[in-house]
Symmetry: C2
Subunit: 464 residues, 2 copies
Amino acid sequence: MNQDFSASRLQNTSRQEIRELVRAQLESLLRQRNYEGAKSLLVPVQAVDIAEAIEDLPESMQAIAFRLLSKEEAIEVYEYLPPNLQQEILTDFHRQDVLEIVESMSPDDRARLFDELPAKVVQKLLRQLSPTERDATNLLLGYKPDTAGRIMTPEYVSLKQNMTSAQALERIRTYAGGSETIYYLYVTDDARRLTGVLSLRELVLAPPDEKIENIMTRDFVFVHTDTDQEQVANTIKRYDFLALPVVDSEQRLVGIITVDDAIDVIEREVTEDIYTLGGLESGDDDYFQTNLFTVARRRVVWLLVLLITNTATHAVISSQEDVLDKVVALAAFIPLLIDTGGNVGAQSSTVVIRGLNTQEVVMGKAVNVVRRELIAGALLGVMLGVVVTVWAYIIQGNFPVALAVGTSLCAISLIASFAGAALPFLFRSFGLDPALMSAPFITTAVDVLGVLIYLNFARWILRL
Amino acid sequence: MNQDFSASRLQNTSRQEIRELVRAQLESLLRQRNYEGAKSLLVPVQAVDIAEAIEDLPESMQAIAFRLLSKEEAIEVYEYLPPNLQQEILTDFHRQDVLEIVESMSPDDRARLFDELPAKVVQKLLRQLSPTERDATNLLLGYKPDTAGRIMTPEYVSLKQNMTSAQALERIRTYAGGSETIYYLYVTDDARRLTGVLSLRELVLAPPDEKIENIMTRDFVFVHTDTDQEQVANTIKRYDFLALPVVDSEQRLVGIITVDDAIDVIEREVTEDIYTLGGLESGDDDYFQTNLFTVARRRVVWLLVLLITNTATHAVISSQEDVLDKVVALAAFIPLLIDTGGNVGAQSSTVVIRGLNTQEVVMGKAVNVVRRELIAGALLGVMLGVVVTVWAYIIQGNFPVALAVGTSLCAISLIASFAGAALPFLFRSFGLDPALMSAPFITTAVDVLGVLIYLNFARWILRL
């Protein structure tokens, strides 16, 4: 109905008037930062009129108006723009003032207003950008951080399925200069949809007059622009690929991700994992380049969490103060119990968290893994318990105290192994990052239960 | 002189007799496991006679006798062996009884007796082995664990430099089946020495009648069979290579390592780093498949080290027992101080150790990095000190005690940051693994100094 209405209106008003009307309203709405309104305004307008209205907007608004269009509209409008304006809009994508306007929108607004870009626009845009410029245009591109859209490159060779292998090789010879890899070749149809993949190896080994459609693989692996980069890297790793195609929601090819970029992703993700295990919040920036206040802020979070857990530990020790008051020598073994318990727990959680991250350990095996760790904890506990009883007796000379230390260490080792193995599974099943969540809870379990067990064993063994 | 002597002896004795003499002596020495003697016996003997002597040995001894030859002798002897015996000796490389004999030699003996294998033998051998079989023959191959020799594959395409690019493509079409990658091609001379590298891309883009020597890169990157696999992976990562050639000490091409194997190496090395940071000794086997006693043994080492460090902590607390005896409430804050100190130290050591492993941090920057961490530690210390003083006052109600806790936490944070940042550099400069060595020493520094500072601050603030 909208279409009919605007078409009939078109017959009564001159095109020039409509264009001016739309332009004026659009400009006013954009100046008011009423993006929702601007988006609604454009819905009933014909693509050709939108194209001309955009042409007349101030430069800093052209790219933003274009990004408010739905994907289907954007494809059409783009086709109506004269080539120099197509170019200008793409250039605006990394103009500082344009980016500042977009930056001032709330992230939700941006996500709601910005539809996916047409494949053709993405390719043209990415092709003219250096990696640094590409980074700067991320806002207008609308791809979320750490997704395939952010790390893909447009530098690939695409072929048509009715080419012969000789024609394809000829095309590669002509266009290979701008391609990041020519070892994987991508076959697209007229609508830019990815229909097949073939390797240069297959092409070189094929007879010269063989059609591409007979050589290409139709059952290929691909990712979407919004696929998480870690999953992209894992896919490349699992299949030993040299590159992976990235498509939009309509299966149109928009870029590729090469194995060297996947290695960089693996490196960054591993650093993130290691930082999280080490109790540091990880950021996108380089730790050694970040200013020290940011560093302190990122580190203090974990340490403040420790305060909360230690409130419980403090309460437990305070409630048992009479035991310590009678045999103050018991206090000197608290560091050993806490250190050892913390380390046994860290050992178990390290292997489970690393296993979950490398997909070596799956959720379905949780019970098996936890049982294994429990048995390992028991073995460790017995070994340590015996050694520590002897050690405590030697350095302190009081056998009942030594026995209390040894037996509680055995129990703590069991608890720590269990908590270290079980908590990562628990947090993963809630959709939380096990590396981030496990350590504070393991510390609490070990400290609170450990001290409680120790002082009660002492009370009982020493008959206090 | 030896050569002359055996040559003159040859004129007096029949070839048959010499062969029988060498064979009998060789067999007897091998039965006595006198490999040094066997090696000396063969030095003055002519290659052709060694070849025939080996031919007459019992099957299980043939491969071992062959492996005792120096590289130069091995090349010659191998050429004299009839093709079926060449084949048999290679097959013996993964015969169980042969491997058992080699396994029973001491590793030093093996290393001293086994010279590098000739490139031709390596290639022939690797070509007929599956990866699992290759793993089993490692003993007889003589490549050390975690070196390029262990992970290389012989499945590459080699070219000659006087071929034209059309001839090269023809050769690739014919031989590509058995190659792991055809995207990098290796040019060797008649002595199998690697003289150049070119990519399939360069070959495809070159005119058909261009000579390979005009396209190939002479200034290529390669590794040796004994290069550490981590360095191999780093080289592939740094240069974004898809494969890397492996040469022996005479620059003869023996294999290649592909990017997917490099990714596997990165994964394994990262797991090793993470395990070490988590306080577990890492082994070649899969943690989740290893039997539990091995697991317990690998984990107990770190925990026993903690005992030694805690002897010092115990001594410090015991020597300050009078303070605790007077104000037993002080004991309840010991877990907080130890936990926080341990975590601040772990944060600093995590970033430094990860930085050293990824080569993001170099030894030359040690002073800068440690200074940064000291300042971060001071910032953290002040923030935590204030918060903790308030927290301790709230939960315990005694301001002097709270002040003692807060001020000592500030000092502990400084010490922990310093120890966490400085110790990895110190251990690396001694050629030790920072991840393995740092944690126990950081724990000691934090526990001993932390408790000492705490109890002395308390003594002074509370005027005990």
